[in-house]
């Protein structure tokens, strides 16, 4: 076979590559190529061009991560997540990072796209008739998957009954199938439902599995991120944030610990930070127990890395409140340094460190961390439970002092602690001593490092002094009664000051025990909103009025209906006469009704222009004042219902009217920051008070008419000194408008209720001195 001895030129070689040569040439040059080393190299060079295709091609076998790499597992999980969720759960916890929230939120359209593919992935869901939702579970419309954890899946849902967004936690099938675990899940869920606290995610409902159904928990939906996500960069958080977040974790724990509930799984993933407010919310109380059953039987050991577990827990010993304190300390350590205190390559390594090693104190790693804060963290992660600080409530208090060291803090961030602690906090001298005892115990573990002890104590004393001098007038601690199903329009203290009755938008009345922060009674009182609730001045009777035009009297212990009257229209205001024999009501038609409590008879009526929004008796029972939409304050003779005074000045509707505890002084509040004090005898205006920001809804006199308390649109309550009209305290904490105010004169407390569905009880006794 003749082989061409002359080499082809570049053009020919290119044509050879492209298959553009006639057959004869193709054969000739191909044969040439078999023998000519020069051309073999040349043709490959032409084929490769500028890109080093040859080099990469040679490595083609190793282009993918090796088979044994965890890459493949992760990619598989990611792909599953991608296919089942609108927001890629793998990335979901990052959704709320500031500034990125809006961009991340899927449009309705996106949710719709998802609906088709996703229902089948959640067999427990029924199809939803609304295409904007993935599916339906009882009366909950499921909008999206928020996240997945070891225990199950968390969904965002819309509660069609109560018309609000909620989070639903559905147990994973493993747990569903384990009877013991499922029962425990429901039991712990119910126990958690008893905790009502601003730093604990509220548990709304526990759905126990019936035949063929699944168990799930319905919780408050928190828009935000987990602490885990916030710390994922591995950098320390600002020292002030370490103290603030720690303070709020401790406050949340104290709510559970006061009910002898232990969380058992405090870790960054269970600590949520609300997007808008930055508030800390603890979740998954007690649920670790339910999963323990599974993990233990499945693998014979605790799954996952026990980074935050207390030594006694890691050993499988008994756990109590102090185990939570350890975990909280480990979390704070990580916040302070960016490093988990017992980090090791394996779970066993972590456990060994937890048992045997103390990490370097945070202030030596991060100079921004003060020694007192560092000392507290180290005390929390003491190996022996008895060497740790005494209680979560005391830690919250100490941390509140430390937070203020770093500069002013919004009162909104100062947590409500238990009723017992609130009392301690507002009483001045007792507190110092109490703290010192706790502190000394707290730092005892340092084993004679006297310098540190002294510094810590000095730091605390200084912090407390600072806190007191700076916030003489604000930052009153309050007890929070949260989780009412809607706006609380009005509240009243029981005679013994132990309970508060709340009139709620959904037509129900709730009776709260202040000390335990629990609802002891709830019942449906009216159709439509309940506008007012009032305890009788002497007898065991509670009066309510509402949208359904009724005024009702209830037995205050059994809450059986005693009497009922029918007004012309919605009744917004009621008041008992001081002698307790009568009750008056003002309705939307502008009609005043006077009822006799014993006989049930209507004794008198009178009418005025506009709607009556508020009504009150003077302290001697001789006068009645009404106020409402016609901007006029009216004073009536209580017997004859003859009009005695009409007082003008308000430039908008008047929302509330209240007489002073003695004398003829009268206060009205209303639209556009109006707060006015009148003399009901003379009909003259005494004061106008400034200082409110927006409409004012609630008003009450206290301290024998020396102070006036108002509450309004700006979510704050204010205490005015009537001697000079100055604001002497501003009570902040509510998240939306304050609607009404009740007084507990004997104990120097006031209660405020708000559109945010909460009631706060403030101890103002120190203002009385």
């Amino acid at each position: 076979m003749p082989v061409a001895s002359i080499c082809p030129d570049q053009k020919t070689l290119t044509q050879l590559i492209e298959g553009a040569l006639p057959d004869a040439d193709l054969k000739r040059w191909t044969d040439h190529l078999g023998d000519c080393g020069n051309c073999q190299a040349a043709i490959q060079t032409i084929a490769t061009g500028a890109i080093e295709i040859d080099r990469y091609v040679g490595e083609l076998v190793s282009i993918d991560p090796p088979d044994e790499s965890s890459y493949w597992q992760v990619v598989k999980e990611l792909e599953i997540d991608l296919k089942t969720s609108a927001e890629r759960p793998a990335f979901a916890d990052t959704q709320a990072r500031s500034g990125e929230r809006d961009a991340e939120r899927p449009s309705d359209e996106q949710k719709r796209d998802l609906s088709a593919s996703s229902t089948s992935d959640f067999p427990f869901l029924e199809p939803s008739s609304d295409p904007a939702f993935i599916g339906q579970l009882h009366h909950f419309l499921i909008a999206r998957v928020i996240g997945r954890g070891g225990m199950g899946i968390v969904l965002e849902a819309f509660d069609t009954h109560l018309q609000r967004n909620v989070a639903i936690k559905v147990l994973n099938p493993q747990i569903q199938q384990n009877e013991i675990a499922r029962q425990r899940f429901c039991r712990e869920g119910r126990a958690a439902a008893a905790i009502s606290h601003e730093h604990v995610v509220s548990m709304h409902h526990v759905a126990k599995a019936n035949e063929g159904e699944i168990a799930y928990l319905v919780m408050q939906l928190i828009e935000g991120e987990t602490l885990e996500n916030r710390m994922k960069e591995g950098r320390p958080l600002p020292a002030k944030e370490v103290a603030r977040i720690g303070m709020q974790i401790a406050a949340g724990l104290s709510a559970a610990h006061s009910r002898e509930m232990v969380h058992r799984d405090i870790k960054p993933a269970n600590i949520l930070i609300e997007a808008e407010t930055e508030r800390v919310k603890l979740t998954d109380f007690g649920l670790a127990r339910a999963t323990d059953d599974i993990k233990l039987t499945k693998t014979g050991m605790v799954a996952g890395t026990p980074l935050y577990m207390a030594p006694e827990q890691a050993m499988g010993g008994t756990t109590d409140e102090r185990s939570d304190l350890f975990s909280m300390g480990a979390v704070m350590y990580e916040m302070a340094t960016g490093i988990s205190p017992f980090q090791a390559a394996s779970a066993v390594g972590v456990m060994k460190k937890i048992m045997d090693e103390m990490p370097t104190p945070p202030h030596l790693i991060n100079s921004e961390i003060t020694k007192p804060l560092s000392g507290l963290i180290m005390a929390l992660i003491a190996k022996e439970p008895e060497d740790r600080p005494e209680s979560s409530a005391s830690i919250a208090t100490v941390l509140a002092g430390l937070v203020s060291e770093f500069g002013p803090i919004s009162p909104l961030q100062v947590p409500a602690v238990t009723a017992h602690e609130a009392k301690k906090l507002s009483g001045n001298h007792q507190m110092g001593n109490q703290q010192m005892v706790d502190r000394r115990k707290m730092v005892a573990w340092t084993g004679g490092v006297i310098v540190i002890v002294a510094l810590v104590i000095a730091g605390i004393v200084w912090a407390l002094q600072l806190a007191q001098s700076k916030s003489q007038n604000d930052d009153f601690p309050s007890v929070l009664l949260a989780g009412n199903p809607g706006t609380v329009w009005s509240v009243d203290f029981s005679a013994d000051g132990q309970d508060i009755a709340a009139a709620i938008e959904d037509g129900s009345v709730r009776l709260w025990n202040i000390e335990t922060q629990t609802v002891t009674k709830r019942f449906n009182a009216h159709r439509g909103a309940v506008w007012m609730v009032k305890f009788h001045p002497t007898r065991p009777i509670v009066a309510t009025c509402g949208d359904d035009s009724r005024v009702k009297l209830w037995d205050s212990s059994s809450f059986e209906l005693l009497k009922e009257w029918h007004a012309e229209n919605t009744v917004r205001g009621i008041a008992f006469s001081p002698n307790g024999k009568r009750i008056i009501a003002g309705d939307r038609e502008g009609v005043i009704h006077v009822y006799d409590i014993d006989s049930g008879k209507e004794l008198a009526t009178a009418s005025q222009s506009g709607s009556i929004l508020a009504i009150d008796y003077s302290s001697d029972g001789k006068l009645i004042a009404t106020a409402g939409s016609d901007k006029i304050v009216r004073v009536w003779d209580a017997q004859s219902l003859n009009e005695r005074q009409t007082m003008s000045g308000h430039d908008g509707p008047i929302y509330n009217v209240r007489f002073a505890d003695s004398g003829a002084m009268l206060a009205t509040v209303g639209w556009n920051k109006n707060i006015r004090i009148w003399n009901a005898e003379t009909g003259s205006e005494i004061y106008q008070l400034d200082g409110s920001d927006g409409d004012v809804w609630g008003v009450a006199f206290c301290v024998d008419g020396q102070h006036l308390v108002t509450g309004g649109q700006d979510a704050a309550a204010r205490v005015f000194d009537l001697a000079d009209g100055s604001v002497i305290a501003t009570l902040r904490g509510h998240e939306s408008a304050v609607h009404n105010i009740a007084l507990d004169t004997d104990r120097g407390r006031i209660a405020t209720c708000s559109r945010d569905g909460t009631i706060r009880v403030w101890d103002l006794s120190r203002l009385q001195h």
Partner: protein, 200 residues
């Protein structure tokens, strides 16, 4: 894979929709191994490399809708490089506190350098990218090639066998083996060039 892959521009636009699982899957297929390899080439262990890759994906997911990459010189790939580089920086910074190894220190220094020192890193990134494109090109080109031709290419170019061995094995002339190899190589090159142009 019967569907033709999305063009880069379309893919990037579609990624802005977090629920577009097809787009995200494709993105993961295209860039996941590349990020993984790049990070491994910096001395990270498997588990750390996988974590870091996920971190990068998260950041992309969060930031893609802001179209930052359009402003970045070099477009999306350069933007992805910046994200990955920053994650590496954070990683080594954390490592440094825990207790750095010799490699960590060297890497850390390299990451800290800006213009000049970063060239090497950037070069490595580009190599990984071209490798990635080549792997895609293989997927696209292979179905178009007659199987014997592909085998001749694979055995010589990938497995490194000599033309003589391959010619015996596949019962073809050794000149044909060279032609086969150059033809497939050229087709792959054209495809990589096309992908490159599309990416820019």
């Amino acid at each position: 894979m019967t569907e033709s892959p999305l063009t880069r521009a379309t893919l990037l636009l579609r990624l802005r929709d977090p629920s577009d699982s097809d787009a995200w899957s494709e993105f993961l297929r295209d860039y996941g191994p590349m990020i993984y390899r790049f990070v491994r080439s910096r001395g990270l262990q498997d588990a750390d490399a996988v974590d870091l890759m996920q971190d990068v994906l998260r950041s992309v997911g969060m930031a893609i809708s802001r179209l930052e990459y359009e402003k970045e010189k070099g477009g999306f790939r350069a933007w992805l490089f910046t994200i990955t580089r920053n994650k590496l920086y954070t990683y080594f910074q954390k490592r440094k506190r825990i207790g750095p190894t010799g490699n960590d220190t060297a890497q850390f220094e390299m990451l800290k350098q800006t213009a000049d020192g970063a060239d090497d890193l950037k070069h490595q990134w580009e190599i990984e990218h071209q490798r990635q494109l080549l792997s895609r090109a293989v997927e696209i080109v292979k179905p178009q090639i007659e199987s014997k031709t592909w085998e001749a290419f694979r055995l010589t170019a990938v497995d490194g066998m000599s033309a003589a061995e391959v010619s015996r094995k596949l019962n073809m002339k050794s000149g044909s083996v060279y032609v086969a190899r150059s033809r497939v190589t050229a087709k792959l090159r054209v495809e990589v060039e096309r992908l490159l142009a599309e990416g820019n």
